[in-house]
């Protein structure tokens, strides 16, 4: 009896040891999300990418934690590094930056990458897939579709990222339709269906007839569809929410970044010593963002004929911006703010720093604009 127990124990030890060894062969990667993975926006898109990473690389094992409050990220990182033994940790919200920077100091041998951040360290990279070119393309279509010359935009928070997108969108609208205006309503929330709904209704009452937005649900799409008005989806493929009214939208391929980054870690090209200058700023040409009502459908076929010549322009611009040389970019001067100032001079292309800290509103934007420069 005793022998049997001893044997069983030995077996257990051996097996767990073997499992442990096997696990160590894999690169363990932790993902920290700010929202629930079931939202229709940001966190969901990262989660889709995480699953693709796990399916693509047999040598990667992933763990994730969703709905992490921004102040509590450090504790979650502690757990991922110490208990889960993660070699790479991705923190996917701007608000995680303080916690991520502190953790990078505390665990110098762990590789960190912080999404949408700007602080880097030898073991801390930053990455972002930005939509401004996509918003510009959506703007071209919106400009062609509006009959009232008023396009509605429901914005989350008046921060540089959202302002950049609204400006890009407005430049698109005005390129096709110089008389059109973009009316903006802020809801001061990333996710709030009720606010998004009433903001959209207020835009309809103000005379808008085409819509784009920044909010993590498909509310704006629903309200626009109820009123039989064209709309552009945000972040998730929203074609299925209203197949007759979603003209196009902004889509992301975060896996594009994750696959690239992790394969470089796997190859030993990225280590915990050389990430100081690693900053991904992915646009159309990197393939991390896509214009479309859903993946592979840049323009809803139902709307193609209504777009007329603009359809060809959109296709041309997609090709230009997808080109490795990026022969076109919407943020090319001259760009005037609505206060009349020249914000980007003739012939100059706005650089990364300019785009990241942008506060002005371009000509054609209507509505309050907190933090607008004098």
């Amino acid at each position: 009896m005793k022998k049997a127990v001893l044997f069983a124990l030995c077996l257990v030890f051996l097996l767990t040891g073997a499992i442990g060894l096997q696990a160590q062969d894999k690169l363990k990667v932790g993902f920290i999300y700010v929202g629930p993975i079931g939202d229709m926006g940001w966190t969901h898109a990262h989660e889709v990418a995480r699953r693709i990473v796990e399916d693509t690389f047999p040598w990667v094992e992933t763990v994730y934690q969703e709905s992490v409050p921004e102040a509590k990220v450090e504790g979650v990182i502690d757990r991922m590094v110490r208990r889960e033994r993660c070699a790479v940790v991705f923190t996917t919200s701007f608000g995680f930056w303080e916690g991520t920077v502190a953790a990078a100091k505390k665990y110098p041998d762990t590789i960190f990458a912080h999404c949408s951040g700007f602080m880097r360290a030898p073991n801390l990279a930053t990455y972002m897939a930005d939509f401004y070119q996509i918003y510009y393309l959506n703007g071209l279509m919106a400009g062609a579709l509006t009959k009232s010359n008023k396009v509605g935009y429901v914005g989350a928070f008046p921060i540089p990222e959202v302002k950049r997108h609204i400006n890009a969108f407005t430049m698109g609208v005005r390129e096709v339709n110089p008389k059109a205006e973009v009316h903006v309503r802020w809801i001061e929330a990333w996710f709030d269906p009720a606010k998004a709904k009433e903001a959209t209704n207020s835009l309809i009452d103000a005379g808008c007839d085409v819509f784009a937005f920044t909010e993590d649900s498909d509310t704006v799409v629903q309200v626009a569809a109820e009123n039989r008005m064209p709309v552009f989806g945000h972040y998730s493929p929203m074609y299925n929410s209203a197949p007759d009214y979603v003209v196009s939208g902004q889509l992301v391929h975060w896996e594009n970044f994750y696959l690239d980054f992790l394969s470089k870690v796997h190859a030993g090209y990225y280590t915990s010593k050389n990430l100081e200058n690693v900053d991904y700023w992915d646009l159309l040409k990197e393939g991390s963002v896509e214009v479309g009502a859903k993946f592979g459908m840049p323009v809803n076929p139902k709307w193609k004929s209504r777009l007329g010549k603009t359809y060809d322009l959109v296709m041309e611009r997609i090709a230009q911006m997808s080109d490795f040389q990026m022969v076109f970019d919407p943020f090319t001067g001259p760009i005037y703010s609505r206060k009349g100032a020249v914000v980007v001079p003739v012939g100059v292309r706005a650089n990364y720093g300019h785009l990241l800290s942008l506060e002005y509103a371009v000509k054609g934007v209507v509505g309050s604009w907190p933090g607008e420069p004098k």
């Binding site: 939202d39 008046p158 835009l203 009452d205 498909d218």
Partner: protein, 310 residues
């Protein structure tokens, strides 16, 4: 006329957005009138929203959805009732637990339902004839949904029951002084269970309205704090069903205006406007002497009742 259009647009939206708030508030008024403080409104609403949505989705019948949503809200409220009436747990704690429970459970169960559009919503209807009344017609009788009328009707009915029937007196006396009520032979626990259940039914119905009518789809956390507005409005309404109509639609108007007025007023200021209203309104009401006498909360609100011999 420009201003007429503004009034019409604002009140139309106020009715649509204010209805779930009104339903929840009416329910909470009953619970609190009987002495039960239920901070679980948010939880009951989200449970009602989720179950209402899934039921309407599967059966393709929105009315079954409303029924199921209300019933689930009621069932959840009985949980709070059991804890606070039977076990005499601190009501604040058990109500908060219910809110967290509802939000958490629906978050987990709702994963697969996210983003699926509900085809089986109820139709908007116009009342022939009445819709041609100037101002009032376009607000109340053009393309409105039936639940708006049900909400107002329920408010009147519940007011009548609470203030014009003997059962209403029973409810109020249990909330004011359960000991005396008990001495008069009233079954305090039963009355409180009934009122808590009514509160749950209406909160669940309000939640189902959100996911079936207001925004026909399910999203995690879609009540987004509406349950807390309900609790504030219960106080604002002086625990009176008819005042609740005004309170809910005033809140709805401000909510809409906080977007409509944005081109002229700073958005930060506007977003706090409806919430500021729920804080300031009771204070202003308190300043009126006549109202102050009527205003006091039910005497035994939040206090568990225990018979002396026990």
């Amino acid at each position: 006329m420009e201003w007429q259009l503004w009034v019409i647009e604002t009140l139309r939206r106020a009715l649509v957005y204010g209805t779930p708030i009104l339903l929840g508030t009416l329910g909470e008024i009953y619970a609190e009138r009987s002495g039960i403080l239920n901070l679980g409104v948010e939880g009951m609403m989200i449970l009602g929203a989720f179950v209402g949505f899934t039921t309407a989705f599967v059966t393709k019948n929105p009315w079954l959805g409303f029924l199921a949503g209300a019933f689930v809200g009621g069932a959840a409220s009985l949980l709070h009732g059991f804890l606070s009436i039977h076990l005499r747990v601190i009501q604040v704690v058990s109500g908060l637990a219910l809110t967290l429970f509802g939000l958490g459970l629906t978050g987990v169960l709702g994963r697969g339902w996210e983003g699926q559009p509900l085809k089986a919503s109820i139709a908007e209807l116009s009342v022939p004839g009445l819709s041609r009344i100037p101002v009032l017609g376009p607000i109340l009788f053009t393309d409105q949904n039936l639940l708006v009328y049900i909400g107002i009707g329920l408010a009147v009915l519940l007011w009548w029951v609470l203030f014009k029937t003997s059962w209403g007196i029973t409810v109020r006396s249990v909330g004011e002084d359960p000991r005396t009520a008990d001495a008069l032979g009233i079954n305090v626990a039963l009355v409180r269970y009934c009122c808590t259940f009514i509160g749950g039914l209406l909160a669940g119905l309000g939640g189902a309205y959100l996911s079936i009518v207001y925004r026909p789809s399910w999203t995690q956390g879609m009540t987004a704090g509406m349950g807390w507005i309900v609790i504030a409005l219960t106080i604002f309404s002086l625990w009176h069903p008819l005042v609740a109509i005004g309170g809910s639609y005033a809140f709805g108007s401000l909510f809409y205006l906080s977007f409509r007025l944005q081109p002229w007023v700073a958005p930060e200021l506007l977003t706090i406007m409806p919430y500021l209203f729920t804080i300031l309104a009771p204070l202003l009401l308190h300043a009126s002497r006549r109202l102050r006498r009527r205003m006091g909360a039910p005497g035994a609100l939040g206090l568990p009742y225990r018979r002396e011999e026990e």
